[in-house]
């Protein structure tokens, strides 16, 4: 357990990198949710857009993360600040599960309930905010949960382009062939993923419609 000693000795830096990591994941998940949920709603209501939107998100998902970071590096405004770049890449990766789950959640609302609502004179936005979203919220959140867990792992790779986060330890440890240093990055990242999973899972159950 010598890596624990290493962590304790370097706790200042571990905390700093954990905070950086959290920030990268948090802000990119926020962006992905702000973009992905409306896109998912759009796709659920206009099935014609289903293929192009989900297809694009799927394609993004297939790009190896290291390659995506590399591709984006020469882009002017992004390349200046690597953390912007990392956030963009993480946002792109987080989109697919969020769009797909929003789509699934909204399509899963009982058509009879929708029709009753429409027949009673609810407007489209009342249907969306009072019926579809509340009934789909737990499915949407489980998409967010998947996105967060993926992001925590992916964000370690952001260190390869100097965007910080717990990946710093991992890459440094790899270079030094020192398992203690690798673990100092990997273990807190795993704990972070676990906590995020539990946290969003708790939220998901809280907001579950009866």
């Amino acid at each position: 357990m010598s890596f624990l000693r290493f962590i304790l000795q370097n706790r200042g830096q571990v905390l700093e990198l954990t905070a950086e990591h959290l920030w990268l994941v948090g802000i990119s998940t926020l962006f992905a949710t702000l973009i992905g949920v409306p896109l998912g709603i759009l796709v659920a209501h206009w099935p014609r857009l289903n293929k192009p939107v989900l297809g694009s998100a799927n394609i993004i998902q297939t790009i190896p993360s290291l390659a995506l970071f590399g591709f984006l590096l020469p882009v002017p405004w992004l390349g200046n600040r690597v953390d912007r770049l990392a956030i963009l890449a993480l946002t792109l990766y987080a989109l697919l599960p969020i769009i797909r789950n929003t789509y699934t959640g909204i399509r899963g609302v009982d058509p009879a309930v929708m029709e009753a609502g429409r027949g009673m004179g609810l407007t489209d936005s009342q249907l969306l905010f009072q019926v579809e979203l509340p009934l789909a919220v737990s499915v949407i959140l489980s998409g967010v949960r998947t996105a967060v867990v993926i992001s925590v792992g992916l964000a370690t790779i952001a260190a390869a382009i100097g965007a910080g986060g717990l990946g710093e330890f991992i890459f440094r440890g790899l270079a030094m062939v020192d398992n203690r240093v690798i673990l100092a990055g990997a273990v807190p990242a795993a704990i972070l993923a676990l906590l995020a999973d539990l946290g969003v899972g708790w939220l998901e159950r809280r907001l579950q419609p009866r």
């Binding site: 309930v113 027949g119 009673m120 407007t123 009072q130 009934l135 009866r210």
Partner: protein
């Protein structure tokens, strides 16, 4: 055109509805008079549910026009139109994430009633539909099928609409509960005198509840008859129905008593 004592609340004028090349409804002309229960009887795919949905404009006719209170539906404000028409469907279509009280109070709430007025109305409706007050705070999944359907009726009546559209509202219930709800609905209707359009495939139900029965087959209106005349009708479709359901004299006697 036949002169009528009262102007119809709902009128179909040569209405057709087609989806692509399929004619779901062909040249339908039909009127619902104030305070009557017009039963739309027919088997699956006969166009009865389509007919119902044309009234609150969940569907729009591809030819002809539907008039509600003398005004063409095509010109009406659709949200306003729907809020002024009660709508009950099979399995009630209750919002699973709303309590009973919130389900019942929905139309008043979206119509901007003040909260105390909504609460009073919900209480009144629970009583009217034979539901215990403590049910108000329950969720639909905690109710029996009969209770859910009562809530469905209460919800449709909430804003006191003149018109009630009912799409096989008692279809999913066991015979005893159905019988109970039918009886209660009749006594409720005696007091409220709504104009009701009622979709069913059950002749017995149509006989019992309907002031008149509109028989539909393959997108066409076959005939409109009173329950008593329906039994004696020589129309092949009507007599086929009567034959399929066997002895119905008693049901008619009960419905018109």
């Amino acid at each position: 055109m036949q002169p009528t004592a009262e102007s119809p609340v709902i009128e179909f004028r040569n209405v057709s509805y087609r989806v692509g090349r399929t004619e779901v409804l062909r040249d339908l002309s039909l009127r619902a008079q104030p305070g009557e229960i017009l039963a739309l009887l027919g088997r699956s795919g006969s166009g009865k549910t389509t007919t119902l949905k044309l009234v609150n404009r969940l569907l729009s006719p591809t030819a002809g026009e539907v008039l509600v209170r003398g005004l063409s539906n095509a010109q009406a404000d659709v949200i306003h139109l729907r809020r002024s028409i009660g709508y009950v469907i099979q399995d009630a279509g209750l919002f699973p994430h709303f309590t009973v009280a919130k389900n019942i109070g929905l139309v008043p709430r979206i119509s901007g009633w003040p909260e105390p007025k909504i609460r009073a109305r919900v209480e009144e409706l629970l009583q009217l539909t034979g539901l215990a007050p403590e049910i108000a705070s329950r969720y639909p999944h905690q109710l029996s099928g009969g209770q859910r359907q009562r809530v469905g009726v209460a919800r449709a009546l909430a804003a006191d609409p003149e018109i009630l559209l009912m799409d096989e509202p008692f279809g999913a219930l066991d015979p005893l509960t159905r019988d109970e709800l039918q009886r209660e609905f009749l006594s409720l209707q005696k007091r409220l005198r709504k104009t009701v359009v009622f979709v069913t495939h059950d002749l017995r139900e149509a006989m019992r509840l309907g002031s008149r029965i509109a028989l539909m087959e393959a997108g066409k209106l076959v005939t409109v008859l009173s329950p008593a005349d329906f039994l004696r009708s020589s129309d092949p479709w009507a007599s086929a129905y009567v034959k399929a359901f066997g002895d119905l004299e008693s049901a008619v006697a009960e419905g018109t008593s």
